[in-house]
């Protein structure tokens, strides 16, 4: 079978015979590939307690984007670490080999690990677990657009499930600028043709932003519009996350 002569022979995945015509898709009066309105998010599904081996965990599903986040700790920091009287946060984001349409492309997103760390850092009360480390590990099972915002929201839910003290839940939403339209919670195809993207990570109850990234070309009114869209969506998302936590808590009481 495989690996008879060491390395696997070069392979390719068969492409469709008809190349999709992409240009007219995003002209004047285009419709989103999944039929959503421009300012409509995909239905969000959250469930806590996905991984029993972890201190806390959560599973999130937004359309075909599926993510699991496990939280371990607070536990002993690595031996090489210097003494610290506040807690440490350690994050990692990885992809399954089958997450992306072309096998094994998920490793292109090395920056997600650092961005997840920065997005959560401000929301966690690090003073509540001095000298120890909390590990937040995410695995993207299937990637279908807006991966990082889903990972961040899911991670904050997993932290809450693990009982790590936070100022508030962290919710994250992105918008893409495609030709003249702003589309919220973009899918993979839309992200590929976007002119710019904007992602907000915030603590909705406190109305505080932990991370804001803007890429591409934006005008000031567009940025304002995009930010307002994201903030509104974040508030709604946080409500869904909160109700998921309440549900889990009432289940465990019974």
């Amino acid at each position: 079978m495989a690996g008879k002569g060491g390395a696997n022979p070069a392979t390719y995945s068969p492409s469709p015979t008809i190349q999709k015509k992409k240009a007219p898709l995003f002209k004047e009066d285009w419709v989103r590939p999944d039929g959503r309105g421009f300012h409509q998010c995909r239905p969000a599904f959250f469930r806590t307690g996905a991984v029993n081996a972890a201190s806390g965990s959560a599973y999130a599903e937004f359309g075909n984007t599926k993510v699991i986040v496990s939280v371990f700790g607070p536990r002993e920091s690595k031996k090489a670490m210097m003494y610290s009287d506040t807690g440490r946060l350690n994050c990692n984001v990885s992809f399954t080999t089958f997450a992306t349409p072309v096998r094994g492309q998920g490793s292109d997103h090395k920056e997600y690990t650092a961005m997840l760390h920065k997005a959560l850092e401000g929301a966690i009360i690090l003073e509540s677990f001095p000298k120890t480390t909390v590990d937040v590990f995410a695995l993207v099972l299937e990637s279908s657009g807006s991966d990082l915002p889903v990972v961040i929201s899911c991670a904050s839910l997993a932290l809450a499930d693990a009982g790590i003290m936070m100022y508030d839940l962290v919710a994250s939403v992105s918008v893409s600028c495609v030709s003249k339209n702003l589309v919220i919670d973009p899918i993979f195809e839309e992200e590929n043709y976007q002119d710019g993207s904007l992602m907000i990570t915030c603590m909705p109850s406190r109305y505080e932003i932990t991370q804001l990234t803007v890429t591409g070309e934006w005008s000031t009114p567009k940025i304002n519009e995009g930010m307002q869209l994201c903030l509104d969506a974040c508030a709604k998302l946080a409500k869904i996350m909160r109700s998921c936590l309440k549900e889990a808590a009432s289940d465990s009481k019974e």
Partner: protein, 304 residues
């Protein structure tokens, strides 16, 4: 579990949880003497098991298998390769087992778990030696093109008996696998065929219809712990960490022995113990086969 005849240990003076942590072996042995395990199972019984086919929409075949809390997700992606000179009419299966850091507190990013390559190799050996897949069925054009099936198993939650769950999800995914319909284009490349252009290029078709592999004698496994005279089927992670002698037996669906692993351990396996393990595995194979058959028939009904 504070039994009254506790003259030689502290179990009568201590909370159950504390006793479990401080004297795990004694905690387990007192259960074993009563022929029951801490999770309420009899010694020879496996945990609740379920299989869900088609868990990964973008893959050609996929399955999610759960044994107790141990969860495995397998997806198969089909790619095209040039077959090797020695076997021009055969395709290939590449099997990989991954333990991402989410699955267990022991695994840290950048430091792969020791168990992962071992299980990877065991899976590959079991699936190739059982003759489950006829590699000739993966051929497309003799000497020019053949399928390479990338089979990736991800452990999502590790709670013991990892190999059993990994093998179950791998064979389930293979039973769910649909080979896509493809044609060969003018450049000699293999391309996917959609419904409407099927007729136009009838002369170039290589694989006319979506089809399934014919799987024969599906292998299933059961891991047991040997401890003193006890045999514990389907151990949890806690049990595996306390009692270290494991025996894994793989049988095919007709009950033939495919492989037997006993990677060391402090307990020597006598013939009678091994025979008992095989008997337990026989029963387990029947259970697993009916679970998988049931899922496959559900899938067929849904497709009709």
């Amino acid at each position: 579990m504070g039994l009254p005849n506790a003259s030689d240990d502290l179990s009568s003076e201590m909370e159950v949880d504390a006793f479990r942590r401080l004297f795990p072996l004694r905690f387990f042995e007192r259960h074993l003497a009563e022929s029951i395990r801490p999770d309420g199972r009899p010694l020879g019984k496996a945990r609740d098991t379920s299989v869900f086919l088609g868990a990964v929409a973008s893959a050609n075949g996929s399955a999610l298998a759960k044994i107790g809390s141990t969860t495995m997700l397998t997806a198969i992606k089909m790619e095209v390769m040039t077959p090797s000179l020695e076997s021009p009419d055969e395709g290939c299966i590449a099997i990989d087992f991954h333990m991402p850091p989410i699955c267990s507190p022991i695994v840290r990013p950048g430091r792969p778990a020791e168990a992962a390559p071992v299980i990877s190799k065991q899976l590959f050996d079991t699936i190739s030696s059982s003759g489950l897949v006829n590699l000739k069925e993966l051929s497309l054009v003799n000497g020019k093109a053949a399928w390479m099936a990338y089979l990736d198993v991800y452990c999502l939650d590790a709670d013991g008996a990892l190999f059993d769950a990994a093998l179950l999800s791998a064979v389930s995914a293979l039973s769910h696998l649909q080979i896509p319909a493809v044609a060969i284009n003018d450049d000699g490349k293999i391309v996917l065929m959609s419904e409407e252009d099927g007729q136009k290029q009838a002369q170039e078709q290589v694989n006319k219809e979506k089809r399934k592999l014919t799987l024969k004698s599906i292998p299933f496994s059961l891991t047991c712990i040997l401890h003193k005279n006890y045999i514990l089927a389907d151990p949890t992670a806690e049990e595996e960490s306390i009692m270290e002698t494991l025996v894994t037996i793989v049988l095919d669906s007709s009950g033939q022995l495919i492989s037997l692993y006993k990677p060391g351990g402090s307990v020597l396996a006598h013939t009678s113990a091994l025979q008992d393990c095989v008997a337990l595995t026989r029963q387990r194979v029947k259970e697993l086969k009916s679970i998988l058959d049931e899922q496959n028939s559900v899938m067929e009904i849904e497709q009709d």
